[in-house]
Symmetry: C2
Subunit: 471 residues, 2 copies
Amino acid sequence: MSHHQKKTMRKHWLQISVFIFGLIIWFIPTPSGLETQAWHLFAIFITSIFAVIINAMPIFTSSIIALAAVVLTGTLTTKQAYSGFSEDFILLIIVAFLIARGVIKSGLGKRIAFLIIKKFGTSSLKLGYSVVAADMFISPAFPSNTARSGVLYPIVSALAADSGSKVSDGSRKKLGAFLMMTSMAGITLSSTLWLTAMAANPAGAKMAKEIGIDISYGSWALAASVPVFVLYLLVPWVIFKIYPPELKKTPEAPMIAQEALEKMGSIHKNEWIMAATFIGMVTLWVMSETWGMDKTAVAFLGLGILMLSNIFTLDDLKGEGNALGTLVWFSILYAMSKYLNELGFMGWVGEHISTSVAGYSWPVVYISLIVGYVFIHYFFVSQTAQMLALFSVFLSVAIKAGVPAEMMTYMLLFATNFNAIITPQGSSANVIYTGSGYIEAGEVYKVGGIVTLVNTTIFLTVGTAWMMFIL
Amino acid sequence: MSHHQKKTMRKHWLQISVFIFGLIIWFIPTPSGLETQAWHLFAIFITSIFAVIINAMPIFTSSIIALAAVVLTGTLTTKQAYSGFSEDFILLIIVAFLIARGVIKSGLGKRIAFLIIKKFGTSSLKLGYSVVAADMFISPAFPSNTARSGVLYPIVSALAADSGSKVSDGSRKKLGAFLMMTSMAGITLSSTLWLTAMAANPAGAKMAKEIGIDISYGSWALAASVPVFVLYLLVPWVIFKIYPPELKKTPEAPMIAQEALEKMGSIHKNEWIMAATFIGMVTLWVMSETWGMDKTAVAFLGLGILMLSNIFTLDDLKGEGNALGTLVWFSILYAMSKYLNELGFMGWVGEHISTSVAGYSWPVVYISLIVGYVFIHYFFVSQTAQMLALFSVFLSVAIKAGVPAEMMTYMLLFATNFNAIITPQGSSANVIYTGSGYIEAGEVYKVGGIVTLVNTTIFLTVGTAWMMFIL
């Protein structure tokens, strides 16, 4: 038997194990307090995630089979199962993908990438820090994670490509994979740092106000500042160690970038159009809430302008099958997670965690609840949905057990952000970066899992100490 | 100014005219009996179609700009505007696309194509007739146009490719464009012929029964038989004349096909898997109503199997950006058309047509109503929606004017099918074929328009005479 055949055989055995795993969970008697439908949905959902974690199949394959299972067993109606495809934020991810291609094709991505390399390009790690710093800097203006990754992704993508790291020729691990993973991790931090850096944050602050805890823009930033700062220093370095880029030191890169910039000459017409469109789009995204404009429609308009000016063409669209793949798998997982929540599964898990900690001292309750809240994000695709579903339950249990209410509130709201890298579907940003092909879904479970562990540990230690000091 | 620059300038002028056209319609005072919202939606919808007809921009560009306009002007809510993306039949089109790639890649498409060429391949016109005949033969078992085009498309696609007509190298007009246009036209005929060949047919028969007109499987087929037979002979020939393939006579093709078949040898493992999956899928599609299975989920399952057996891979998916493009433009146009209908625009037009014929003799009323019913399909994306919206209104007006009720009933139900090629979005089949790249959207308006004229003329003459004889 050839090596290739052995590998195929092994894959098929893994796939068979996945189906057996799924069948076992499916036929376990439904735990009391749950509808059978919710249990069956859970069985299919967890199986599809398991298949990706053990690398039995790609996330696309696993999701479409899960979709077929969910519909053909009657676990969800067709309307429910397909509902994710028309979610505006998912469509925004897809359009952001296409616009990113325009940023790169116009030459603007190259130019920005070279400018960054010229300034910070002497090592991969420094580039990683620069990307995260840029994100932290722009994030207060972006209450949409998705829109923000739509801005960062084309730049990171160009940074990778212009350093000779491409998906098409198998050199994704040279630099691109590392940079994108770092940027994904960075987005968990930038979202945690500012009240206005993620859609769920102000919603959570409002819910906190209802039980008498006032959170302002400043108090939020103050509480988050120290742990986020420590993590800003730590996380890119951790990723550099566990998911290293093949390209490490690049002392000559700034000079090469300088030369390349000179060769590019002055800004071309297409770059101007691209820049104007992009700045216009970003302005409308930032103002979207104030002006009541839909972010996705703004993105479609931007893409339309790029097409009318031939910066993004139908030929370019032909090569964007990955965007379709992303739309499909993410819509499916999103809908499953949404209905897991609506069918009461999430609440049931939350209550189990809550009751299991009753009677313990408050620090034990505090740590268990936060750890539980972080890991339950395995099943949530939407961070906002998790916050809306579990924030109040977890908070009230903690307060009853004597955990300082204000600290618990902040920690839950922070955790809503810093747990986002735990799965490839855990945040829109992950979806965009994973969709690029630079990062495999399975790698997010591993590296993202470790980053989540680091985030959680620092917040539970440094973060807790800091909040006990200031609150 | 270079030739290229002149062409670009001309395009931009056309685009500017489109926007002016749209603005004029938008600002025309809303006709009485209509909500302003409906009028505005009509203005955007008709502008996006106009842009494609005058070739100012591709249908994808025109649709996304229309979407942005519809949402940003508040004409539709975001939920309404994006609702098309989660329609199961639209997702079925997309999955059918991907499966077609599997049929071709596995070698099965090639083999079937060579078998057909071996038997009927001496001329392009003969191939066209064969494709339509095959469709007529399988159509009674397919109440879903979409599923049926999912079966025909990969075969027609392989027929084209194996005759050296490809999109990628600019030889689409050699044979593929002609064959696909012919198959699209053929589907309008096969759907008209059988009560069970299109989803709207049995629904229409049921509505007819409510006013006392009994339509059976046999009576339907009898009434349709003669005009459809005449059109079967006429339409491929008409398309051959007005949209000719560059490749006309191919006397040596059957021999080449024979040799190619011999060279292919016995059926390979991947072809077996593909065939088994495909037959399984088609069986479930045919039985879908009896067994209550969702056709789209069945297609997703089939695609999942193809992916597990590496017949369709993630690398293949990467190249399927066209499928994404199709999903986007079709979902957008579908949603706009749906809400044009729901907002009362379609009913308003229907009533105007109805009242404008009052007082005339019944043959005049009959012809005017049928012609009106056919051409109103310009605004309908769903054939079923048009039937549900207008069938009763048109029928009752006709009966009042003295048109024989049974004949009018049949004609309206037939027209629901034979008008389907009037626009690229007029039927799922058109969408699949146009999405292939072999046919341009603008060409459907032209050639499809003429075919619709031929269909309508034959039905109004031969069809009417035949029905007056048998009914």
